[in-house]
Point group: C2
Chain length 83, copies 2
């Protein structure tokens, strides 16, 4: 399945707990859209989150965020993982 | 050790082979700066690379790219990995 990395910026006041809560909502919603969240990384200081996920297409990743919590990514890039 | 995600953009004409070659140069250079590259993801279509690495600080990550190949990241963010 295609692999994607998304980037969220400007999440002022982000905490580890908030990031985990939002991620959990994605995970609860993902199956309906054929998406599988694999990992995420975040910066509380910079208000940035990167999510790595598998999805049939970019739109499915958009749909999960929209339905789960409405916090949309600034960028979603289809990626390959380096060896 | 602190964890970082960097993002390179605008790498027009990027290929999997080129990304692997550049990554190899980082890996060959990393120990001198106390850095450990863990993984990278890339998009040939969008000319984007994300590198995940451990380093004592952001400057060490900058130093590796500078010495290894001179292709500097557009952003380097200290991150925590989500559970």
């Amino acid at each position: 399945m295609p692999l994607f990395m998304d980037t969220h910026r400007g999440m002022d006041g982000l905490t580890a707990e908030a990031a985990a809560g939002v991620h959990m909502k994605d995970v609860e919603t993902q199956a309906k859209h054929g998406v599988k969240y694999l990992q995420y990384w975040f910066s509380e200081d910079e208000g940035v989150v990167h999510c790595l996920f598998e999805a049939p297409n970019k739109e499915a990743g958009v749909a999960v965020h929209k339905e789960a919590h409405g916090m949309m990514a600034d960028e979603i890039t289809e990626v390959k993982q380096g060896d």
